[in-house]
C-alpha cells in the first residue's frame, strides 16, 4: 500500500467484527487501531498523519452518529466509513449528509471497505494539506493591520484604488501603500492569487462558522 504514514481507526463494540476488521486492514499492509466504544476512541490521541475511521453506527453509550457530529465540531474532522448491521435509509442519509465517506452494511465485501478506506485517506490527506495551507494564510492575514484588512476586503471585492480611497475617506496614495503591504504580507503575486487565498480562508471560515461566508456568496471578480 502507498499509505505507510496513515492510520485506520476501527470503532465497533462487537469483538468479532472489530478483530476481523483490524486483521483485514493489517493484512493489506495498513496501520490500524481498534476501539470498542466512541468514548475510548475520543480519549485516544490521534497522530497528525492522514487517518480515517471505520465506525459502527450503533454503539453503547455514545453512538456512531453522535461521534461523527462531535468530531466535526471539534475541528479535527476524520473521514468516516460507517458500517452497520441493519442500516436503514434515513440513518444512512443522515450519515452521508454529515459528511460520511461511505455507508456499508455488514457483512460487506472487503474490497468495498478497502476502496472506501483508500478514498477516505486520500480525502483526509487533501483536507489536511488544505487545512495546513489555510492555517499559513491565516497566520499571514493575522499580521495585517485593521486598515490593511479593510483594503484587502475591498481589493478582492474588485474595487479600484480610487474607489477604495473614496469609501475609506483617504487618499489614493495611502490606499496604494496599504495595498502594497497586503500583497507583501500575504505573499501574493497578484490580485487573483490574493483572491484565491481569501477563498481558501473563506472555506475554512465557512467550515468553522456555519456558512457566514461562503465561496458562493463571494462576488465574482
Amino acid at each position: 500500500m502507498n499509505e505507510p504514514d496513515s492510520t485506520v481507526f476501527v470503532v465497533d463494540d462487537d469483538r468479532s467484527v472489530r478483530e476481523g476488521l483490524l486483521d483485514l486492514i493489517h493484512s493489506v499492509g495498513m496501520k490500524a487501531k481498534a476501539f470498542s466504544s466512541a468514548r475510548e476512541f475520543l480519549q485516544h490521541e490521534r497522530p497528525a498523519t492522514p487517518a480515517c475511521l471505520v465506525l459502527d453506527v450503533r454503539l453503547p453509550g455514545l453512538s456512531g452518529l453522535d461521534l461523527q457530529r462531535q468530531l466535526r465540531q471539534s475541528g479535527q474532522p476524520v473521514p468516516i466509513i460507517f458500517i452497520t448491521g441493519h442500516g436503514d435509509i434515513p440513518m444512512s442519509v443522515r450519515a452521508m449528509k454529515e459528511g460520511a465517506v461511505e455507508f456499508l452494511t455488514k457483512p460487506f465485501r472487503d474490497q468495498d471497505l478497502l476502496d472506501a478506506i483508500h478514498h477516505a485517506l486520500k480525502a483526509d490527506r487533501a483536507a489536511r494539506e488544505q487545512r495546513a495551507k489555510a492555517a499559513e494564510l491565516r497566520r499571514r492575514y493575522d499580521r495585517l493591520t485593521p486598515r490593511e484588512r479593510e483594503v484587502m476586503q475591498l481589493v478582492i471585492a474588485g474595487r479600484l484604488n480610487k474607489q477604495i480611497a473614496g469609501e475609506l475617506g483617504t487618499s489614493e496614495v495611502t490606499v496604494k501603500m496599504h495595498r502594497g503591504q497586503v500583497m507583501h504580507k500575504m505573499g501574493a503575486e497578484s490580485v487573483v492569487e490574493l483572491l484565491r487565498m481569501a477563498e481558501t480562508m473563506a472555506i475554512i471560515a465557512t467550515v468553522q462558522s456555519q456558512g457566514q461566508v461562503s465561496r458562493k456568496s463571494a462576488p465574482p471578480p
Binding site: 478483530e19 453509550g61 457483512p107
Partner: protein, 665 residues
C-alpha cells in the same frame, strides 16, 4: 229306651212260654225274623240266663255282635263274657244281675265293654227275673243295648254346652237371656260386672229395672218378641253404684225344639269403651296415615305371595300419577320397569330370610308413561299372623340429575382445563413470537455480527495467504476467528429456535444467571441500538432453581423487552437496564430473586396488580398478555412475580423462585 227293653223282654217271655205250641210254629218263625231285624236296628241284643246253673241258655244274634263273639262257637261261658266287660264296670254288672235275682225286680245298669283291639263300647243292660210257680227266680232274661253312639253324642253335646257357656262367660259384652215375662233367666259374668249385681240377684228380676229408661228397655224386648230381633238398640245401663254406661243391644229370640219362642238372648256392647277405643284407633290411624302420607318416600304395602298392592301412601300416588284406588290391586310389576315376576319372587324370598333388599336405581313408569329413577328397599313385616312386603321407593331424580350434571361438568371442566392449558401454551408461544418479532431486527443484528466477523476474517485470511511469502500464522489466526464467530452465530440461532419451539415444559435444575446472560445476549443488539446501558449484578454463588429454562427465558425476555420499550419512550435521559440476581427467601425458604430495573416511564404504584391482568397493556401494539403469561409461568414454578415503581424513575420487576439445594453446574 226302657220301654223298648221291657217290651222285648215281654215278648221273649211269651216266646219261651209258648215254645212248645206247635200250632204257633210258623208264626213263631216269622216273629223271630222280625225280632232279629228289630234287634239289629236298635242295637239291642237279648239273652236268657239260667239262674240255677249260672249259664246262659240263649243269646240273640245281636248280643253276639255287641260282645263280638262268634255264634258258631256256641254260647260263651260267663267267665268269657265277664272278661269282656270293662274292668271298672265288672262289679256293677254283677251287682245288677244279683239285684234282679235277689230282689226279684227288674234291674238296669250301664257300663262299658272292653273288647279286643282296644274297642270300648258303652252298653245298657236291662234284666228281668222269671219266676216259677213257687215264686222262685229260675231265669234272668234281659237285653243288652249298644249305646256307644248315643254316649258319644251326649258327650259331644255336653262338651258343646260347656264350650258355649265358657264362650258366653268369656265374652266381655254383658249377655242376658230373658223369658217371655220380661224376667232375666240367665246372665254372664260381664253382666254381673256391668250391673254390680250377682247372678243370683239378677235371675228372676225384671230386665227393665237395670236401665235408666225402663220403658225404652221394655219397648226393646217387646220389639224382639214381635220382630225376632233388634240390632244396635241404644240403652243406658245403670250400675248399682249409679254409674251409667252407653250400650248397644243386639238381641234375638231363641226357641225350643218345637220352634216355640222361649226367650230372648240379648247382648249389650259397652260402646263408651268402644267409642273411646274407636276414637283412639281413628286418631292413631289418622296420625299414622299422616305420617305415612307425609313421608317423603313412596310406600307400598304388598301382599307377600303375589305382591299385590294392599295400600299405598300419598307420595306413591303422586309420584306415579295413579289414585290410591287405581294402585290397590296392582303389583309393582305394573310400574317398576326393572322388575319381573321372577325377580320380585326372589326379592320376596330374600326378605323372608330377614334381609332388606335394596336397589340403588330402579325406574318407575308413571301413568303418563314417563320414567323416573328410584332407590328401592323391600322388607318383610308381619301383621295379624300374615306376611306382607313393604316397598319403599325414593325418588332420586334430583340426585341422578345432579350426578349426571356433575359427571358432565367434570368432563366439561377437564375439557376446559385442557383447552386452557392448550390456550396458555399457545399464548406463551405467540407471546414469545411477538416478543421475538419485536426483537427481530435486534436478533438479526445478533446473528449478523458474527457473520460479518466471519466474512471479514475470511477475507483477511485470504489476504495473508496471498502475501509473498504467505503469512500462515496470520492465516491461522484468521481461521480461528472464523471458527469462533461461526460457532457464535450458530449459538444465537439455536437460542432463537429454542424460544420459538413449542415444547412441553420440562423442569430441570437451571442456573438463573445463565438464563439472564442468554436473554441479554439475545437483546444485546436492541439494547445497543436503543443506546441502553446494561448494569449486571449477578451473584455467582446462587443455588439452582427447578424450572423450565425456555419458560424462564421467556419471562426474562419479556421483562427486559418491556424495560427497553419503557425506556424508548423517555427522551434525553440516561437509559440503564439493571439486572440483579440475589439470594432471598420465599415463604421462609431460600429462593432466588432476579430483579429487572429500568429507567423508563414506569407506572404509579397503584397500578401494580393491574399490570398482571390479561389484556392490560399500555403499548399501542401490545396484546397485554406478556406479564399475565409471565406471572402464570412463574407461579407454575412455585414462584412470585411482582412489580414496583422505582423511587427515582422507571420500574423494577422481580421474580422469586424457590431455590434447590444443589448448586447448578
Amino acid at each position: 229306651m226302657k220301654e223298648i227293653a221291657r217290651r222285648l223282654a215281654d215278648s221273649l217271655t211269651s216266646l219261651l212260654m209258648f215254645r212248645n205250641l206247635r200250632e204257633s210254629e210258623e208264626a213263631l218263625r216269622q216273629s223271630q225274623a222280625y225280632l232279629v231285624d228289630s234287634q239289629r236296628l236298635s242295637h239291642t241284643g237279648s239273652w236268657a240266663l239260667d239262674v240255677a246253673s249260672g249259664k246262659y241258655d240263649y243269646w240273640s244274634e245281636e248280643t253276639y255282635r255287641i260282645f263280638e263273639f262268634d255264634p258258631q262257637d256256641g254260647l260263651p261261658t260267663k267267665e268269657a263274657i265277664y272278661r269282656r266287660v270293662h274292668p271298672e264296670d265288672r262289679t256293677r254288672a254283677l251287682a245288677g244281675d244279683e239285684k234282679a235275682i235277689r230282689e226279684k225286680v227288674d234291674a238296669m245298669s250301664e257300663g262299658r265293654l272292653a273288647l279286643p283291639k282296644g274297642i270300648v263300647k258303652h252298653i245298657r243292660v236291662a234284666r228281668h227275673p222269671v219266676l216259677n210257680a213257687a215264686g222262685e227266680v229260675v231265669k234272668l232274661v234281659g237285653t243288652t243295648m249298644d249305646i256307644t253312639e248315643h254316649k258319644r253324642a251326649e258327650e259331644a253335646l255336653r262338651l258343646s254346652n260347656t264350650y258355649n257357656r265358657s264362650l258366653i262367660e268369656a265374652s266381655l259384652d254383658p249377655l242376658v237371656t230373658i223369658g217371655p215375662d220380661g224376667n232375666i233367666t240367665d246372665v254372664n259374668a260381664a253382666t254381673e260386672a256391668a250391673t254390680g249385681c250377682y247372678r243370683g240377684e239378677l235371675i228372676g228380676t225384671d230386665f227393665c229395672d237395670y236401665f235408666t229408661e225402663p220403658a225404652q228397655a221394655r219397648a226393646g224386648y217387646e220389639q224382639v218378641f214381635r220382630e225376632g230381633m233388634v240390632r244396635d238398640y241404644p240403652l243406658e245401663l245403670r250400675h248399682r253404684s249409679g254409674h251409667v254406661i252407653s250400650v248397644l243391644y243386639n238381641a234375638s229370640v231363641y226357641r225350643d225344639e218345637s220352634g216355640r219362642v222361649v226367650g230372648i238372648f240379648a247382648a249389650a256392647r259397652d260402646i263408651t269403651e268402644q267409642k273411646r277405643a274407636e276414637e283412639v284407633v281413628r286418631e292413631s290411624e289418622t296420625r299414622f296415615r299422616t305420617f305415612v302420607d307425609h313421608a317423603p318416600d313412596a310406600l307400598f304395602m304388598l301382599e307377600f305371595e303375589q305382591g299385590t298392592i294392599i295400600d299405598v301412601n300419598r307420595p306413591a300416588c303422586e309420584s306415579l300419577g295413579y289414585s290410591r284406588q287405581e294402585l290397590i290391586g296392582k303389583t309393582p310389576l305394573d310400574f317398576d320397569v326393572n322388575l319381573d315376576r321372577a325377580t320380585l319372587d326372589a326379592m320376596a324370598e330374600r326378605t323372608a330370610a330377614g334381609e332388606t333388599v335394596s336397589f340403588d336405581r330402579h325406574w318407575h313408569r308413571r301413568k303418563d308413561g314417563s320414567l323416573f329413577p328410584v332407590e328401592v328397599h323391600l322388607s318383610l313385616f308381619w301383621r295379624g299372623g300374615r306376611r306382607f312386603l313393604l316397598k319403599v321407593a325414593r325418588d332420586i331424580s334430583e340426585r341422578v340429575r345432579a350426578e349426571e350434571a356433575l359427571r358432565s361438568s367434570d368432563a366439561e371442566r377437564q375439557r376446559a382445563e385442557l383447552a386452557l392449558q392448550d390456550t396458555r401454551a399457545e399464548l406463551e408461544r405467540v407471546s414469545r413470537e411477538t416478543t421475538m418479532g419485536a426483537l427481530a431486527a435486534s436478533i438479526a443484528h445478533e446473528v449478523n455480527q458474527p457473520i460479518a466477523g466471519v466474512v471479514t476474517s475470511a477475507n483477511a485470511g485470504l489476504n495473508w495467504l496471498a502475501a509473498n511469502p504467505p503469512n500462515l500464522s496470520k492465516t491461522r489466526e484468521a481461521l480461528e476467528r472464523v471458527r469462533r464467530d461461526g460457532t457464535r452465530a450458530g449459538d444465537v440461532l439455536a437460542r432463537i429456535r429454542g424460544l420459538l419451539k413449542r415444547t412441553p415444559p420440562t423442569k430441570t435444575l437451571v442456573s438463573v444467571n445463565q438464563i439472564v446472560n442468554e436473554v441479554l445476549a439475545l437483546t444485546a443488539g436492541k439494547l445497543r441500538g436503543d443506546n441502553i446501558e446494561t448494569a449486571l449484578a449477578l451473584d455467582a454463588s446462587l443455588p439452582a432453581v427447578l424450572g423450565d429454562s425456555i419458560q424462564l427465558q421467556q419471562v426474562l425476555l419479556n421483562l427486559i423487552t418491556n424495560a427497553i420499550e419503557a425506556m424508548a419512550e423517555v427522551a434525553h435521559k440516561q437509559r440503564t437496564l439493571r439486572v440483579q440476581s440475589s439470594l432471598g427467601e420465599l415463604e421462609g425458604k431460600p429462593a432466588v430473586i432476579v430483579a429487572v430495573s429500568d429507567t423508563g416511564v414506569g407506572f404509579s404504584n397503584t397500578d401494580t396488580e393491574q399490570l398482571f391482568e390479561a389484556f392490560h397493556t399500555t403499548k399501542p401494539q401490545g396484546m397485554g398478555m406478556g406479564l399475565w403469561i409471565s406471572r402464570s409461568i412463574i407461579e407454575d414454578q412455585g414462584g412470585r412475580l411482582t412489580a414496583q415503581a422505582n423511587s427515582g424513575q422507571g420500574a423494577t420487576f422481580a421474580l422469586t423462585i424457590p431455590a434447590e439445594h444443589e448448586v447448578a453446574a
